[in-house]
Symmetry: C2
């Protein structure tokens, strides 16, 4: 039994619904279908979710006009009309949106969550209806019925452990179940949306809950690429990648799959397959617990900008028991989560994402470090980018670091930081943001181009 999830662009129009229909019925194992809200039909289009967010703000901000509501409904109208579904479906959508607005008009957070969730919810209803209209046994099922019980804070749902007991029972349903992604219900019956990963996380939870043989995630790319295709022309496609590798790439800018969305399937070791709705015959990328080695020790190279480093110096720092603990306590008091704390003998750096250092936190942290830890030098280094070179078993390959550092050196990239060995599947480089694209491109050609020298 498989869980199949379709992203926003896969369910953006009647034409896309037809493709999805063929995919679902093409494999009798595809019994649980998760759908997103209608996404972009082209580059200029606006996602339904974004229209719904605007609609929510217009209600709470007292600038409501029926125009926004109509634009939302027209997205479904295109699908209903294009697939020749029953017109009352559109009336139902309008009625339910108006009821939601009325019910939650005075509760900003709840209204936003309920309207955002409606994007997926209404699309799931249409998909179930469409499947039925084609003669298949199919049924819309709400996250409440499915057992997706979550924590209550608006916009920040976390699945509760007891949810999995109910979800497991979905195995016993006959026919195809269509579940809207992106939200669950709190114990008190409120709609609550997931903070990140959207529909991906619903699919992952359901796949884990029913113990699926595979979690298929349909998007609009043929596969996950080994490097950002905006930097390198036609980069190598990744056929197979492990959870660990995916997690390291996702951390550093690979947006294909949000790492929190993977967590439920990682725990149950359920394989994930990323496929293209527009090109379903392509095998896609398989994300698994363990994979066979290939001739490339590196599977992918990712990068992310927006890091800062707080650099400290204090003579004989590493003899001071409690220094590091005290430092991390200061960060914790400010609720700042850090990325890494590389250290020399008398030096220590704290790598932090810039957005963690908002509104006076930076000044307070630096002041406390100076006063409480009596450091001799402290300075901020900004505009850092981190590059992650990822591949299982890399740690065991002699010369892997040499290839990277030689490529960066030949490209004139000044390596500000190297962190290798703490992870068995990755090697991290810190460079100036201005050099990051050059660095990533150089690394890609060093590891993936057989025409290049393999010195090192």
């Amino acid at each position: 039994m498989k869980v199949v999830k379709f992203g926003g662009s896969s369910v953006a129009s009647a034409v896309q619904f037809e493709k999805v229909f063929k995919i679902i019925v093409g494999d009798p194992e595809r019994k649980i279908v998760v759908v997103s809200a209608p996404g972009k039909r082209d580059d200029q289009d606006i996602k339904t979710t974004d229209l719904l967010i605007q609609l929510a703000h217009s209600v709470t901000g007292d600038t409501y006009s029926k125009d926004l509501l109509n634009r939302v409904i027209s997205r479904y109208g295109d699908i209903v009309n294009g697939l020749q579904l029953e017109q009352h479906l559109l009336d139902d959508i309008e009625d339910s949106l108006l009821a939601t607005i009325h019910e939650h008009r005075l509760e900003e957070g709840r209204l936003l969550d309920a309207l955002k969730a409606s994007g997926e919810d209404n699309n799931a209803k249409l998909m179930a209806n469409y499947l039925s209209s084609k003669g298949y046994e199919a049924k819309y099922i709400s996250p409440k019925e499915a057992g997706i019980i979550v924590t209550a804070q608006p916009g920040n749902a976390k699945i509760l452990p007891e949810a999995y007991v109910e979800i497991a029972k979905l195995r016993d349903h006959s026919g195809i179940l269509v579940v809207p992604g992106f939200f669950g219900y709190s114990h008190s019956g409120h709609i609550v949306t997931f903070p990140r990963g959207g529909s991906d996380i619903t699919g992952s939870i359901l796949a884990a809950g029913i113990g699926a043989t595979e979690y298929e995630n349909f998007t609009d790319v043929d596969s996950i690429f080994s490097v950002n295709p905006n930097l390198v022309n036609q980069p190598m496609e990744i056929k197979e990648i492990t959870y660990k590798e995916m997690r390291e790439l996702a951390y550093s800018g690979f947006s294909v799959f949000h790492d929190e969305a993977l967590q439920p399937v990682v725990e149950k070791r359920i394989p994930v397959r990323v496929k293209n709705t527009n090109h379903p015959e392509s095998p896609g990328t398989s994300i698994v617990a363990e994979r066979k080695p290939t001739k490339h020790p590196v599977v992918g190279i990712a990068s992310d900008k927006g890091f800062s480093s707080i650099n400290l110096t204090k003579y004989l720092m590493n003899r001071e028991v409690g220094f590091g603990r005290h430092l991390l306590e200061i960060l914790e008091d400010e609720n700042v989560s850090y990325e890494h704390t590389p250290s020399g003998i008398d030096t220590m750096s704290i790598i932090i994402r810039n957005h963690q250092l908002s509104s006076g936190k930076e000044e307070r942290i630096i002041k406390r470090i100076q006063e409480e830890l009596l450091v001799e030098e402290i300075h901020m280094e900004r505009d850092l980018a981190m590059i992650m070179v990822v591949g299982e078993g890399m740690a065991k390959t002699v010369g892997i670091a040499s290839k990277a550092t030689t490529a960066l050196s030949n490209a004139g990239v000044n390596i500000k930081m190297i962190n290798q060995g703490s992870s068995e599947v990755s090697m991290m480089f810190g460079v100036d943001e201005s050099q990051v694209d050059l660095a990533v491109t150089s690394l890609y050609y060093a590891y993936f181009s057989s025409n290049k020298s393999d010195h090192g």
Copy 2:
């Protein structure tokens, strides 16, 4: 005004005393002289300090025989006779040793400290006497008179801040003052020895206290070498090195100068010169706050064995605010000081010196990490060696990492860990202990041999 310190081999015999005499009187700035106990005269010799430690144990262990005492006295006898000093000096030494044994025979720690200290103390008296006998104004001064007031725990003296007020007054003495190294006096009047760095630390404290223009440290080598001369034949001599560089090298196996011994002069930015008593015309190595750049970005390469790494894995570890702090708290509770904590995305390693993990600490730490932090994987990696490549401004040189990793790769060394960028003056490599000598040698030739390819 200079403080001049002579190590054990520099004051091991009458011949050595003559060399030291010439050095002291050769520069009128050399007003404060610190001497060690008589060291080894050849490879088979036993240091006086070691004889004194045996003597102390023989007293407290009830195995005392006069033979050990006589062997100690005979070391001074050779000097007294060789320099034709007055015989009563030897009687004084015997009397004071017997009095020390009698006074502290029931206090193991105090006896050990007092006997160890006597090695330096009696040698300082002989040196002052010898200088006087040659017609120079010279005087023995005890650490008590000099103002070296320290904490009271036997064998673990730390200088007290108030000591510096008294020490500063030594500037006003006329003539040459000879001070025994290695110990101070507690507020209650007990002799207490320094834990590490021995006479070096006395010299450093005095140099800082009087604001010396230079602290000269005479040993038996012409200079500090850029790499262990047991690994490389005639390695490059270091002419000038900064405190920071010296500290990084000292940390990782350069035993020339203990890092704690440097601390007092570092704070006052007093230059240190390491010179050879047997070859005083050689310029030696100068240790300074700032130095001029040379054509070599690397000044030295050091290594040390005996490290272990505790490696942890937990999915989404880096999202857990407080994870690192909690981990370091567990170490602090066991009074374990760690070296580094390199981290990946979901991984973290703690590098610890093996001797920190004695007597059940390892098991307790691992158990607490498993139970309190709920990590998914934890394993110990043993037999690690750390290599430090050191040089100011290295961080600004493109290709420096490439040269190192290429050299290691070509030598077939598997790099287990790289830590670059946390210190501006060093780059750290972790390798298996079995490969460390090969690694150091390869790195030395990569940076210091102009015949080698300078690829990278």
